[in-house]
């Protein structure tokens, strides 16, 4: 019986090659896209879940909430907590700290500035059970001056994987010895640790923190604290115990928070949950927004739906072709159930073939997907029975769902009507088909809208959204030169760089953009209102470097010696010098216009002694000092040479490598302890917006897939319709219809569902994209043209696929059509 059905199904498939191909290719492409989405989502949701004991491992988090404000979350906590916690809290099995420090790492002639260097307590590997390549991790960090590196770094510095016993030099001062080599970490981890140095080393920053006298601002030097619970312990109990614990130890953090009127709270974040908690401050890698992951999964389902619709449509459309088969089977005693089973079985066969092709397609495209998403995505189905089970399960579910409507429709034909006329009119089927095509185009139009909006926003984020001209602008981190006496922003260095032929302009500022724009202060206006604002110490020429012009007043200038912040008796800066504010600040401080604010004054960081009202001398246009995810804050700028650490330069765009080499040479000539770190601002922005860029790429790819599937489906359906309506077309031509009339008839038939689809697609897409855009403080507006363009593209696809058939049929001699009977 089964063999019989299989033969019937395969014959049917072989006889209708075009339709079989359309079905199978459509399903394969749909499945492949969905599978890749699933792999991506699995990648994003499996961050660190693969670590042994991940479920009982936590990271200590801290949040500071201003009264009536939004909490600020921190994943770094005071360094002195863990030792006390271990003593006080018996539920803790292990607790260990890690602290990132950017260091220059050197071996022989090779030196690089590394951002993946961490100091760690020796028991860190008992907590984070990372895969080892060679060495014993349980003792690797016991000795001061020992370091554990990854294979990648071993190859980078020593040209071999087994680097045990080799040494590295840190910041050209301290020597560390490799005691173990880790396997390279997969991309689904938050840990970008590539050098883990024993915190017991005398020169370790952890040692510095442990041995310092009590300081009032302890968490300027915070650490990541990892905690492993004892089996059976409950994290909630631990969390509830934290406030009491802090009180008991009268922890310095509490006092500090109290003076700033912030409420402090501590919590434990499961290691595996870190990646999908974007509300937590950026950790080692940018987090994935779960809403976006849901949305992307949803798109995967929609694509499978679109592919299934092709299948349903073509299957029912072809039903008439099989009417005699159905009639004969019925006359020969087949019950309806038998036919339903037969047709659903056939559907599963198609879906299965599609799935097999999809698996092959994914294998083929996997490396590309990795590059595309900037992640190592693994598709190890042969090693994972669960994955195979899921794929097979999907095949059955999709097969049954897609097969049941055609099966019930086909099996409902009465044998007499089928056999009498030799064909049958499938009443009821065309509207269902039309509706399904409408659904398909709704998906398509929605995805195209999403694609346009997201790429629009991405380009906005990378360009206008910054409101700064970043072209050829470069950031040089001169913080290391602060140790050189008498150097502000590497003063001698700065002047030497500015004098280079390839450098057009230069200016210094405080730490800016690199994600740590959290210099906040409170501003008291003349009316006495308190406003939270951000501040940035800058140098003369800073705004000019970015091509900004004052909206009112003037920018800082060396010609006005009073522009610089004065220093008090203790060599501390005093808030007293003139300030420049941004547009947002003009509004926030209650001025009616930029011009109105000039000459007025506000008091910064009110309450502290020594702070006097500062006069506003200029207004600068709003610009992004952070990403556009966050709103632009009221901003205050002032000149304070003591706080300048970053040097910005504008290159003239010629001989860039040569200019960079000269800058490096100047840097080493001033005797800086580590290599100079330089980043093109554009590169930096690219990295910062990686998530948006990735979303944009994903949605573009999926819209492409949906376009392909919908086009394929229409192509098949229009071929079928042209064929089914051949007689009608012949009659119409005999009655005087010309080629244009016939084209119009056929094309309109397919344009109609596309137009109907807008009715659903526009509002739904508007709703979702509007929500998406509101995740950004600064965003593009949803404009009508985007929707019109989406419809235009969908319509063009529909017409392009349909016209080929329509033209062929419309151009034929009518008699050919009429003979078709």
């Amino acid at each position: 019986m089964l063999r019989h059905y299989l033969i019937a199904a395969l014959r049917n498939l072989a006889r209708n090659k075009l339709y079989a191909a359309i079905n199978i290719v459509g399903l394969a492409v749909g499945f492949a896209a969905a599978l890749m989405i699933a792999l991506f989502v699995r990648h994003e949701t499996s961050y660190d879940a693969w670590l042994p004991n991940a479920s009982s491992t936590y990271l200590l988090a801290m949040s500071a909430t201003p009264t009536g404000g939004v909490p600020e979350n921190m994943l770094e906590t005071p360094a002195d907590l863990p030792a006390q916690m271990k003593l006080d809290m018996p539920a803790i099995e292990l607790i260990a700290r890690m602290e990132r420090q950017r260091l220059a790492v050197r071996h022989g002639d090779f030196e690089a500035s590394e951002r993946t260097v961490f100091w760690a307590d020796p028991n860190i590997f008992a907590l984070l059970q990372l895969p080892v390549f060679v060495g014993d991790l349980s003792t690797a960090l016991d000795q001061p001056g020992s370091v554990v590196i990854t294979r990648k770094m071993a190859r980078k510095y020593f040209g071999k994987d087994d680097a045990i016993g080799e040494t590295l030099e840190l910041d050209r001062t301290n020597i560390v010895k490799v005691t173990a080599v880790l396997q390279d970490l997969p991309s689904n981890t938050n840990l970008d640790t590539e050098f883990i140095i024993s915190g017991r080393s005398a020169f370790s920053d952890l040692t510095r923190l442990d041995t310092r006298a009590d300081c009032p601002a302890c968490f300027e030097d915070d650490v990541s604290t990892y905690v492993r619970l004892k089996p059976g312990a409950v994290i909630g109990v631990l969390q509830d115990a934290m406030p009491v614990f802090l009180e008991r130890h009268k922890h310095a953090a509490l006092a500090l928070m109290a003076t700033r009127q912030l409420r402090l709270s501590m919590s434990f974040v499961p290691l595996a949950a870190l990646h999908t908690r974007p509300e937590l401050a950026e950790y080692m890698k940018p987090a994935a927004d779960p809403t976006i992951l849901y949305a992307i999964s949803g798109i995967g389902l929609l694509i499978i739906l679109a592919a299934s619709i092709n299948f349903i449509n073509l299957m029912t459309a072809r039903a008439a072709r099989r009417s005699v088969e159905i009639g004969i089977r019925k006359v020969s005693g087949a019950r309806r159930r038998d036919l339903v089973v037969q047709f659903i079985g056939e559907a599963i066969l198609y879906v299965l073939l599609g799935a097999i092709l999809a698996v092959a397609l994914v294998e083929l495209l996997l490396p590309l997907l990795g590059v595309f998403l900037n992640a190592t995505i693994i598709f190890d189905w042969w090693r994972q029975p669960a994955l195979i089970a899921v794929i097979v399960g999907c095949v059955v579910v999709v097969g049954v769902l897609a097969g049941s409507y055609p099966a019930f429709l086909l099996s409902s034909f009465r044998p007499t009507s089928v056999l009498k006329s030799g064909s049958l009119s499938v009443t009821g089927a065309p509207p269902v088909r039309q509706i399904l095509v409408v659904v398909q185009f709704t998906i398509l139009i929605g995805l195209i809208v999403a694609m346009i909006v997201i790429s629009h926003q991405t380009s906005y984020a990378l360009n206008e959204g910054m409101r700064l001209n970043l072209d050829q602008r470069m950031e040089l981190d001169t913080a290391a030169s602060r140790t050189i006496p008498g150097s502000t922003c590497g003063q001698p260095f700065r002047d030497a760089v500015a004098a280079l032929p390839g450098v057009k302009a230069s200016a210094c500022s405080g730490p800016f953009m690199n994600g740590f724009q959290d210099f906040h202060l409170e501003v008291i206006t003349e009316k006495g209102t308190k406003i939270d604002a951000a501040y940035l110490p800058i140098d003369y020429g800073f705004f000019e470097l970015y091509g900004l012009r004052p909206l009112a007043g003037r920018f800082f200038s060396r010609e006005h010696p009073a522009d610089a912040v004065p220093v008090d008796d203790n060599n501390q800066s005093v808030w007293q010098a003139p300030i420049i504010i941004n547009e947002t600040a003009v509004r926030a401080f209650g001025f009616t216009s930029a011009a109105d604010s000039i000459g007025k004054s506000v008091t910064a960081d009110g309450g502290r002694p020594g702070n006097h009202p500062s006069t506003i001398i200029g207004v600068v246009p709003d610009m992004a000092l952070d990403t556009i995810h966050t709103a632009i804050l009221p901003e205050i700028f002032f000149v304070d040479v003591k706080q300048l650490v970053v040097l910005f330069i504008t290159l003239d765009g010629r001989n860039i490598p040569e200019t960079l080499a000269r800058i490096d040479r100047l840097w080493s000539e001033i005797g800086a302890p580590r290599p100079l770190r330089h980043t093109f601002m554009n590169e930096w922005v690219q990295r910062y917006y990686q998530d948006v860029i990735r979303q944009s790429r994903l949605v573009t790819a999926f819209a492409g897939v949906a376009l392909f599937i919908a086009g394929l489906g229409l192509f098949g359906l229009s071929a079928f319709t042209a064929e089914r309506r051949t007689k009608e077309i012949g009659i119409r031509k005999a009655m005087g219809a010309n080629r244009f009339d016939i084209m119009k008839l056929l094309v309109w038939q397919f344009a109609k569902p596309v137009l109907w689809a807008n009715l659903i697609a526009w509002p739904v897409a508007w709703y979702f994209m509007n929500r998406w855009l509101h995740g950004f403080a600064a965003h593009v507006e949803l404009q009508l043209w985007i929707f019109a363009a989406a419809t235009g593209i969908a319509l063009a696809i529909a017409l392009a696929t349909v016209s080929a058939h329509a033209f062929r049929v419309a151009s034929a001699r009518p008699v050919a059509a009429l003979r078709h009977e």
Binding site: S425, P430, K727, E728, G730, I731, R732, K733, A734, M735, G736, A737, N738, R739, D741, S811, R813, P814, V815, L818, E821
Partner: protein, 226 residues
């Protein structure tokens, strides 16, 4: 008005070549009522298709209302067909998805008749064939005879100069056949040229002239004494 000069029509399939019409020459005047007879497969439908400009001849010349249409493009043929010809097909050829009235309407929409006029003329045509009460039905819901009457209504609704009827009575019982014949006779006496294929000698007798075909050739022309 219609003139065939040495018309040949050959169908080529991969294996065989069928000469459906072989050197046919004949002339049909305006307002004539002509019957075409002959055994199955002798080329009657082929000839009608050529006369109705649904197909073109392999060789020979066809004069259609004074124009030699042998080399005309499909677009030009369509324009002529639209202006002059009404068809009644051997196998009804009603569009399954359209109602009776809509089927009749098909003959008018391509002629640019306004929708108000269309409604009136459809009603008249259906009235003439006695199918007014079935205007909203679908073709499957009608008997063969009723379908044929709708097909006739469709042919005459556009008031064409030439009606080509391929066995309009072939599928009908005597009474229905008579009714259809009466309508065609009426049209012919009203000045419309009618060319009708039939197997019935009785129905052929209604025509002024009978052309007999055999294996694609005209074997005899009988003129019925009026």
């Amino acid at each position: 008005m219609l003139k065939l000069e040495a018309i040949c029509k050959t169908y080529r399939t991969t294996e065989i070549e069928t000469r459906a019409l072989d050197d046919v020459s004949l002339e049909i005047d305006a307002g004539e009522f002509v019957a075409v007879m002959g055994p199955s497969g002798c080329g009657k439908s082929t000839m009608l298709n050529l006369l109705g400009l649904l197909d073109n001849a392999t060789s020979g010349a066809l004069w259609f209302f004074g124009e030699d249409v042998a080399r005309y493009s499909e677009d030009k043929l369509t324009a002529l067909r639209r202006a002059k010809v009404g068809f009644v097909f051997q196998s009804f050829n009603l569009i399954d998805d359209l109602s009776v009235a809509e089927n009749v309407e098909v003959a008018l929409i391509y002629r640019g008749v306004s929708s108000k006029d269309r409604r009136r003329r459809i009603a008249e045509a259906l009235e003439r064939v006695g199918m007014s009460h079935r205007a909203k039905h679908l073709p499957q819901q009608l008997s063969g005879g009723q379908q044929q009457r709708v097909a006739v209504a469709r042919a005459l609704v556009s008031e064409p100069k030439l009606i080509l009827a391929d066995e309009p009575t072939g599928n009908l019982d005597t009474a229905n056949g008579e009714a259809v014949m009466e309508m065609l006779t009426g049209l012919a006496s009203g000045g419309t040229t009618v060319v009708m294929v039939t197997h019935s000698l009785v129905h052929a007798a209604a025509a002024k002239r009978t052309i007999k075909l055999l294996d694609g050739r005209v074997v005899s022309e009988t003129l019925l004494a009026a």
